[in-house]
């Protein structure tokens, strides 16, 4: 406990690596007008970093309140739920009707529904069956499939022209992102991060399990609810900005546990955020600049992340 045992060297190394990938991302292959390049790439970089941190933080929080290291918000179907909500909005109100909300109003409304739905669906699940991993995985897979099927059903029903309104949220892409929501999204993410940082010690205690946390005087349900709210908001923002990034969170948090093993959320929050940024910024630099976009980054991340998921699952089942 306490911050005096942070692995400073490893964290600084990660920060250095991130700085390097950011510099490369901004400079490689840039010709001509620097003002334009910096502004154009800078906005993209901001979006990538915001999403990276949102994904790593929401995954870490979810694993803490669900008491395991295999499940993530995307595996449980959080982002599929957000996509479903947007699709349903288009289905019921049509794209024109949605526009009358204004993009901020729409985003706020979607996030609110997302919060309520998360409490209803995942809150009860974590409270009642949080310790039953098999049940959690099965429920997550079923919910995720249900949300995706409903989404694809609804997309077949709507006017193809209106489909444009949900395209960004439906597929992970780090090249086309929602510029309108970027600044408000970043502000929301920063607010969430500050809040998470203030409850980091409470999260440490929660990760010891229900009985021990109660013994140490923590109100487990309260912290779980707070964390669930933050997760719902972070997933909403990152999905609204670039779309669902399925296995990124799992990959990043697993690497963080490997590189900076610690029971302290102060360490894990920092290291997983750094690793997440390195993977997305570095990966995007390689994909976009060196391989000239021949494969989308999301595909590579999902492939590697999916392998990690299978490995963790097999390892756990062997025990």
């Amino acid at each position: 406990m306490g911050e005096n045992d942070m692995p400073v060297k490893r964290l600084s190394f990660l920060a250095l690596l991130l700085a390097l990938s950011m510099v490369l991302y901004m400079t490689i292959g840039s010709r001509g007008n620097w003002d334009f390049v910096l502004a154009f790439r800078g906005t993209k970089l901001l979006a990538i970093i915001a999403v990276s941190v949102a994904v790593s933080t929401s995954t870490l929080l979810f694993q803490t309140i669900a008491q395991n290291r295999i499940l993530t918000p995307s595996i449980m179907g959080f982002d599929a739920l957000y996509v479903l909500i947007i699709t349903m909005m288009v289905y019921f109100f049509s794209g024109q009707g949605m526009l009358s909300f204004g993009s901020y109003g729409l985003f706020a409304f979607n996030t609110l529904i997302m919060l309520l739905a998360s409490f209803l669906l995942f809150g009860t699940l974590i409270f009642e069956h949080g310790r039953d991993l098999t049940r959690m995985i099965l429920t997550g897979v079923i919910l995720g499939t249900l949300f995706r099927s409903l989404t694809s059903f609804a997309t077949r029903m709507i006017d193809p022209n209106e489909y444009a309104h949900i395209q960004i949220a439906s597929y992970a892409s780090f090249n086309s992102f929602n510029t309108e929501l970027l600044y408000i999204g970043v502000a929301v993410i920063i607010a969430c991060l500050i809040f998470v940082w203030t409850i980091r010690h409470r999260l440490d205690v929660i990760s010891l399990g229900y009985d021990v946390a109660v013994n140490l005087g923590e109100n487990v349900r309260t912290v779980q609810l707070l964390a669930l709210a933050v997760i719902a908001i972070l997933v909403s923002v990152s999905t609204a900005l670039v779309g669902p990034v399925a296995f990124l969170g799992l990959l990043v948090v697993s690497i963080a546990h490997l590189l900076t093993p610690s029971p302290n959320h102060s360490t894990l929050l920092l290291s997983s955020a750094l690793i997440s940024c390195i993977i997305l910024v570095g990966g995007q630099t390689i994909m976009e600049r060196m391989l000239s976009l021949s494969t989308p980054l999301a595909v590579v991340i999902d492939f590697v992340g999916g392998l990690v998921f299978l490995l963790l699952l097999l390892q756990r089942l062997k025990k």
Binding site: M1, G2, H201, R202, S207, D211, V212, G217, E218, N219
Partner: protein, 250 residues
């Protein structure tokens, strides 16, 4: 003093505790015994608020469980739950330092670290302090958990079957530590025990539960005899008295 008044607890149709009243004295080692399913663990879980109170009242000194804030209770009583599944990578010192959470809330001061060191010394864990929990034996891990509750520095320590999966050496050493905590550090110990011989060998008071009610309470010498064993456990065994303590011939 822990006073339990008219406690009734039901799980579905089944009555686990039935209008149970009990007073546990301060500064003593009290053992809760009884057959499987008699309600010992439920009673302990209710006292320590791990389960929600349905009917009745529990007072710890003047604190009313269920009304007192969680963190105030955490400075008054600590519990060692029956099954703990902890992060295996945690070191013993890290685990013990969590015992300071109710006091430090994550901001450990010098006196908190002193208390952690004291806990490690009292439970003879100094050599194991930087080992990870998954490299320890069952008995050593149990000692580390007790060290965490020691560091929590509460007047009351409640332990739910701490001798499970422990061999005779580890069990005896843990019971001796608990007696020492009671006699020299003024702690009140309440412990759920399966083995009646550990109860009569180390406890000041024995409280026997049967079918959700108090069957009998008193010193081991008053409580434990052949008739008692027959009534509570339904087994016939001889009881020998040695140094004023009754022992069951198993």
């Amino acid at each position: 003093m822990i006073s339990v008044r008219n406690l009734t607890h039901q799980l579905g149709q089944q009555t686990i505790l039935d209008d149970l009243s009990l007073t546990i004295p301060k500064g003593k080692v009290t053992a809760l015994v009884g057959a499987n399913g008699a309600g010992k663990s439920t009673l302990l879980s209710l006292i320590t608020r791990l389960m929600k109170l349905q009917d009745g009242q529990i007072l710890i000194d003047n604190m009313n469980v269920g009304e007192t804030p969680n963190d105030a209770l955490a400075r008054k009583l600590s519990i060692l739950p029956q099954s703990i599944q902890l992060e295996p990578r945690l070191t013993v010192r890290e685990l013990v330092s969590f015992g300071r959470y109710p006091h430090a809330k994550g901001r450990m001061q010098k006196q908190d670290w002193n208390k952690v060191d004291e806990a490690l010394t009292v439970l003879d864990l100094n050599e194991l302090a930087d080992r990870q929990l998954d490299t320890l034996s069952g008995g050593q891990r149990q000692r580390a958990y007790v060290a965490m509750t020691y560091a929590q520095d509460t007047e009351y320590m409640l332990l739910d079957e701490p001798l499970n999966n422990m061999d005779i050496a580890a069990s005896r050493s843990l019971m001796r530590v608990l007696r020492e905590l009671c006699e020299h550090h003024g702690r009140t110990i309440v412990i759920v025990l399966h083995d009646i011989n550990y109860a009569s060998g180390y406890a000041d008071n024995v409280v026997a539960l049967a079918d959700g009610k108090i069957d009998q309470e008193g010193t081991p010498l008053d409580v434990v005899d052949s008739a008692f064993l027959h009534r509570i456990y339904g087994t016939d065994a001889k009881v020998h008295i040695l140094d004023d303590r009754p022992f069951v011939q198993v």
